[in-house]
């Protein structure tokens, strides 16, 4: 109610009260206008022409001006305006080109007063003179503006814009004789009402039609215009050349603009298409509307401030057949919902953080950001150049936090990206290659993943038939990877025991598999298992050997351990069985980052990565013939999810590409797309264009694939005159020569042009290829020995 109080003072005792409310109209509205006393509003449209009185909490229909048995097109209004001097006087612009005035004082039911049928086309706008009672101005599609004296039957003067249809006309509020007109071709003209022969001034305001304009109620020189180009512009007309002083970019073409009373910089807009909201902008802050009314369900066609001196009540009509009164305090303020803090990571792990100045205590040890990331400074500050907005208190602070050079290094990323092989070879080779790459960069976990993938998806090719008969010793050594499994390190007794175990395990595989779900559950329960407890379990497991869920899960920790610290090889080689259960693989990944794994387990664990691979491969080979690789898909999926979650989207995407259809169906499109975009973004920020392109090309996501199809234009210069060839790639406009002739067939090359960088002769890719198969000299006969690789 404080606002109401303020309203009262503004109006000098004539308080406006009310709430946000609406009423249904029978038909879509095209325009609305208010009476001077702010108590009544007129709504006009193709099939509606009514006056409503604005009560405390509702609209009440007062008068229907659409009378007659068969309403004529004269009632089909494109615009309506209520005289601000005389409350009985209204004017409408009809779609058939007629300008009609209405006198509410008439005693008859039909209030139609005068009919001006001078325009040949639809009249887009009518406007009363702000102080002169009898003066009416109209602007029409036929390109003319006409000024009518209501005491006469015909127009007093006609203004020819000479430039297409008139979209809006507005009398200046302060200059008695001046009016502005906006045109479909983007022009705005200023006219003196006394001089119909020529406009005073003309300038191009918008690209495309200017739909509307509004003079500032206080500042005599300001004119706001809105156009189809989605811009609202404020022009200062005091200078000799109209100067654009503010510009607001909206999201849709601007249908109406209306300055907010009593608020110098506020302006309300609504749009012609697509966007149904009404925005109130502070023109000094053009990126975010200061208020927003979201009630309408279809485009808003008319907005008007209820009272000339009241900034809190806005009325609007819409195509959705409703009339609304909006109260400012009910407006949604996007600024409240906007995030006032900005946070962004740089490529090298630096973190920039921007926030309101008041939120950040001014710390004396901050230094101005100098942009040198090698400087190990942790807290820096730079003033945002937004001081000009002080009055809106939007000044903010930017802080940059740097990580130290070592930990922020992303070299591994670049190297990996460059060295990974993603396609073009059999899956097994790709995996091996990538594993090697990862290993070379000391990323053992990733290397392991690749190896496992190889085993899961291409083991058939590597498992010899010997493996299939479950002959342990032979089978395992037959695997290439087994070569690295150093049996000598294992005490023979234990070794044989393990074999035994495995064969037992093997015979029970079915059983174990069925248990795998329960394994999972148990595993979760066991999350809290302290490191110190583990060895006991291990022992137990080892001894009993033929056990069971518990047994198997306990071995995940060792694995996790081993991934994080590369451990010596001694002791405990007996874990092979655990991986018999495929779900163990899963846990292996899940556990890799489990925080409670403590260092003291190190003694109990002694598997080197190499060993664990081979163990896995053994066990896998054992029942390879029973499990399709599909079986592992959920595990692999979880692996990828895990990597992506860790921020290593590189691994996720690379695996995704390498596995292709094998795994694609498992992961939903959107996630994949997300990974791809992140990875491509990273690659591009590291300027690894070729690799990012390869990734795009190899991706199976439609949305990603088509990235390559956008902006594919290549600009070339003419080889003769060295000027850019604007039109076509093979003929120069300037020197009229075909720029790229094929040295073999002497025709113009329109598609792929390949040329020798030594002698700069070239031609069609195919031709050159064929030519150089048989000859080593340049086809142009220049004697150069060209090479084609």
């Amino acid at each position: 109610m404080e606002k109401m109080a303020r309203v009262t003072t503004a109006l000098g005792g004539n308080a406006l009260t009310g709430r946000t409310m609406f009423c249904h109209l029978d038909a879509p509205a095209n325009a609305i206008s208010v009476c001077r006393d702010a108590a009544q509003v007129v709504v006009a449209g193709r099939n509606i022409f009514k006056i409503y009185s604005i009560e405390e909490d509702q609209f009440v229909e007062k008068l229907n001006l659409r009378v007659g048995r068969k309403p004529s097109l004269n009632f089909s209004c494109a615009d309506v305006v209520w005289h601000q001097m005389d409350e009985n006087l209204l004017a409408t612009a009809a779609t058939n080109g007629v300008v009609v005035t209405w006198n509410l004082g008439k005693p008859s039911r039909n209030k139609q007063d005068q009919l001006f049928t001078e325009h040949k086309r639809t009249v887009n706008k009518v406007c009363f003179h702000p102080t002169e009672v009898y003066m009416l101005l109209s602007g029409s599609q036929d390109g003319y503006m006409k000024c009518f004296d209501l005491r006469k039957k015909d127009s007093v003067s006609t203004f020819s814009g000479q430039s297409e249809s008139v979209r809006d006309v507005q009398f200046s509020i302060r200059d008695y004789f001046t009016f502005a007109a906006t045109f479909e071709n983007g022009n705005v003209q200023l006219w003196d009402i006394r001089r119909p022969d020529r406009y005073e001034r003309m300038f191009t305001a918008h690209n495309g039609p200017v739909f509307c304009c509004d003079w500032h109620p206080e500042d005599r020189g300001w004119l706001a215009t809105g156009g189809r180009d989605k811009m609202v512009k404020v022009w200062d007309m005091n200078t000799t050349r109209a100067k654009e002083i503010y510009c607001v970019q909206t999201i849709a073409s601007v249908a109406r603009v209306k300055w907010r009373p009593e608020c110098k910089h506020h302006i309300a807009t609504c749009s012609m298409m697509v966007d149904h909201n009404i925005y109130v902008w502070d023109v000094r802050r053009p990126f975010i509307p200061s208020a927003m009314f979201e009630e309408h369900k279809d485009v808003t066609t008319g907005i008007v401030w209820r009272h000339l001196h009241d900034p809190y009540f806005l009325l609007s009509g819409s195509k959705d057949s409703t009339l609304y009164q909006h109260i400012f305090k009910d407006a949604s303020q996007p600024i409240d919902r906007a995030n006032p803090e900005g946070l962004c990571y740089s490529l090298y792990g630096d973190l920039a953080f921007a926030a309101k100045e008041s939120l950040i205590s001014s710390d004396s040890n901050r230094k101005p950001y100098i942009g040198d990331r090698r400087h190990p400074i942790f807290f820096k500050r730079k003033l945002d150049p937004t001081e000009q907005f002080e009055y809106i208190s939007s000044s903010s602070t930017l802080s940059v936090f740097e990580t130290d050079v070592e930990s922020g290094s992303m070299d591994w990323f670049v190297h990996t990206a460059k060295q990974y092989a993603l396609a073009g070879r059999p899956l097994a080779e790709l995996c091996d290659h990538n594993a090697k790459v990862a290993k070379g960069l000391d990323r053992n976990q990733v290397a392991q993943t690749w190896t496992m993938l190889r085993i899961i998806y291409s083991s058939l090719s590597t498992v010899s038939s010997a493996n299939l008969n479950h002959s342990m010793g032979k089978g395992s050594t037959a695997l290439p990877l087994m070569n690295s499994f150093n049996l000598k390190d294992i005490p023979s007794g234990l070794g044989s025991e393990s074999r035994l175990d495995r064969s037992k395990g093997e015979s029970r595989t079915e059983n174990i598999l069925m248990d795998s779900s329960s394994t999972l559950i148990n595993n979760e329960d066991n999350e809290e298992t302290e490191g110190s407890d583990v060895p006991a379990d291990y022992l137990l497991g080892d001894v009993e050997a033929d056990e069971d869920d518990l047994y198997m899960m306990d071995h995940e920790n060792p694995h996790a351990e081993e991934q994080e610290y590369s451990l010596p090889q001694e002791a405990f080689p007996l874990r092979h069985e655990i991986v018999d259960n495929p779900s163990a693989l899963d846990h292996l990944q899940d556990k890799a980052d489990s925080p409670h794994v403590s260092g003291n387990e190190a003694e109990t664990v002694s598997l080197t990565p190499v060993e664990s691979f081979s163990l896995i491969s053994i066990s896998h080979s054992l029942y390879e013939n029973r499990l399709p690789s599909d079986f592992f898909n959920p595990i692999v999926r979880d692996t990828l999810l895990f990597y992506a979650e860790q921020g290593d989207v590189q691994t996720a995407v690379s695996v995704l590409i390498v596995l292709g259809d094998r795994i694609r169906k498992e992961i939903d499109e959107q996630t994949q797309e997300h990974w791809y975009t992140s990875y491509i973004d990273l690659l591009q920020r590291f300027q690894l264009w070729n690799i990012s392109n390869e990734v795009i090309k190899l991706s199976t996501c439609r949305a990603i694939n088509c990235l390559n199809q956008a902006s594919t234009t290549l600009h070339v210069n003419c080889s003769n005159c060295k000027r850019p060839m604007s039109n076509r790639g093979w003929i120069c406009d300037r020197c009229r020569q075909c720029a790229s002739m094929c040295a073999v067939c002497h025709h113009v090359v329109k598609g792929l042009f390949v040329w020798c960088q030594g002698c700069s002769h070239g031609g069609h890719l195919q031709h050159i290829m064929k030519w150089l198969e048989t000859s080593s000299h340049c086809p142009a006969g220049c004697g150069h020995l060209c090479e084609y690789t």
Partner: protein, 469 residues
């Protein structure tokens, strides 16, 4: 473009040398009256060069349109953008959609051209065996294509919804807009092709013959396109026999325009009268049927690209089917259509806007042999007549003017070209506006093309807008 005379050694080798069949780019316009390559002015030359560079050929459409270089420039730019430049649809889709659209009007000329292009950009030849061999996504577009071509007023937001609803073969809004623009472009271009009697390209079916030149150049495909060799003998070549009657025709038309200009203020028709006039024009337009309503069998090659041949232009209000009149003031290209297209398919709105603008405002201020004539009234009548056939009404237009300005044979021509272009014959082309230049008749065709395209677009875009709100 020219085919060299076959040397005797070729004949000995048994190589068959194709010979051009038609006489110039259009069957309706004598070759000597078209603009010859080599005689063009600088602007036309640039356009030729551009067109040749983009399409790899100087097609007959270009050769006829070059009567109006200003328009041609905009046309080529738009077409190039739609087919080659950045856009939501893959290249082969674009050509395939072009084929679908042209095939609706059995326009073998455009179909052949685009079959070549389609294969050239790597399209799957299997698709060409018929729509049912194309991906489901394109098949889904078939219904919209059909309606757009013949009864655009039936398109509702449900149709749009159907295409956009999320499933495997769904369209995105941007893709749909691209497709709609392509469809309308090719529907109307088919109108132009038939309206101007564009001859087949030499490398396309029907564009060449292997027979020695001495044999009659009578060809089966000319018949299917409604052109009889006999016509040429009987129909008087335009302008060669200036009958007094046809001279009067131009004068009378100008007189009427003048009258209308002057007396429009005096005699003010009532609103009911205006509404009736629109309805009457709308109704009459459906009785305007070509008298020579012979069934033209589409060539087998074309018919396989579309299904449901029986679906054609149906007039409004026939069979009691009432469709509410589309009010131009409530949904116009300038205010609404443009914004929507430009939003979803950037730059195309601008290109189309320019093209519509040029077509609507194009004038040389001449009428036949008369100079300095304001033809805006006549152009507006033609434009609004076409929109009237599609049920689009302008509140600020007196449809009585159409009756005054457009005589029956002209209306027959317009109606045929716009609604059932495949039925256009040389006789129709010759029988309207006998006194006028060929370039003026081509100008009329440009108006038809653009007005039709805009009408179709308006209906489609309105449905999309409704879907979006």
């Amino acid at each position: 473009m020219r085919v060299s005379r076959p040397g005797p050694q070729h004949q000995e080798l048994g190589i068959r040398i194709p010979r051009p069949l038609g006489h110039g780019p259009s069957r309706f316009i004598p070759e000597k009256e078209t603009i010859q390559v080599g005689n063009e002015d600088a602007m036309m030359h640039t356009l030729f060069a551009d067109s040749f560079a983009t399409l790899g050929r100087l097609d007959n459409v270009t050769l006829v349109m070059v009567f109006h270089p200003q328009y041609l420039e905009s046309f080529l730019k738009t077409q190039h953008y739609l087919l080659q430049m950045d856009g939501p649809l893959p290249l082969h889709y674009r050509h395939y959609i072009g084929i679908m659209a042209a095939a609706r009007h059995q326009c073998s000329y455009l179909v052949n051209l685009h079959v070549n292009d389609f294969l050239h950009v790597g399209g799957d030849p299997k698709w060409l065996n018929g729509l049912e061999n194309a991906p489901q996504k394109l098949q889904n577009l078939g219904e919209l294509n059909k309606m757009l071509a013949h009864r655009p007023w039936l398109i509702t937001k449900e149709h749009i919804e159907q295409l956009l609803k999320t499933e495997e073969n769904s369209w995105s809004l941007a893709e749909l807009i691209h497709a709609v623009v392509l469809l309308t472009h090719y529907h109307s271009l088919a109108s132009f092709t038939f309206g101007c009697g564009i001859s087949p390209e030499i490398d396309c079916e029907g564009g060449h013959t292997f027979r020695p030149p001495s044999v009659s150049n009578y060809c089966i495909c000319d018949i299917t396109n409604g052109y009889h060799g006999v016509d040429e003998i009987h129909a008087s070549p335009t302008g060669s026999i200036p009958s007094t009657e046809s001279v009067c025709e131009v004068e009378a038309l100008m007189e009427k325009m003048k009258q209308l200009q002057e007396c429009r203020d005096e005699e003010e028709a009532s609103q009911e009268e205006m509404a009736t006039r629109f309805e009457r024009e709308k109704r009459e337009s459906m009785f305007v049927c070509s008298s020579e309503d012979e069934e033209s069998a589409p060539t087998r090659d074309v018919s396989r690209h579309f299904e449901d041949t029986s679906y054609g232009y149906k007039d409004f209000s026939r069979h009691g089917m009432h469709v509410p009149t589309f009010r131009a003031q409530d949904y116009s290209w300038e205010d609404h259509g443009y914004s929507l297209v430009n939003r979803l398919y950037p730059d195309v709105g601008q290109l189309l806007d320019e093209k519509f603008h040029i077509a609507y405002n194009l004038t040389y201020n001449t009428m036949a042999m008369h100079k300095d004539v304001d033809t805006s009234m006549l152009r507006r009548a033609i434009w609004n007549y076409i929109h009237c056939m599609f049920g689009i009404r302008y509140d600020d237009y007196d449809y009585g003017e159409i009756n005054q300005l457009l005589d029956r044979s002209f209306k027959v021509y317009i109606k045929t070209v716009v609604c059932t272009p495949e039925k256009t014959t040389k006789r129709m082309y010759d029988s309207f506006w006998r006194q006028f230049e060929h370039s003026e008749k081509v100008h009329v065709n440009l108006l038809l093309v653009e007005a039709r395209m805009q009408a179709e677009l308006l209906y489609a875009l309105r449905a999309i807008t409704r879907y979006m709100t």
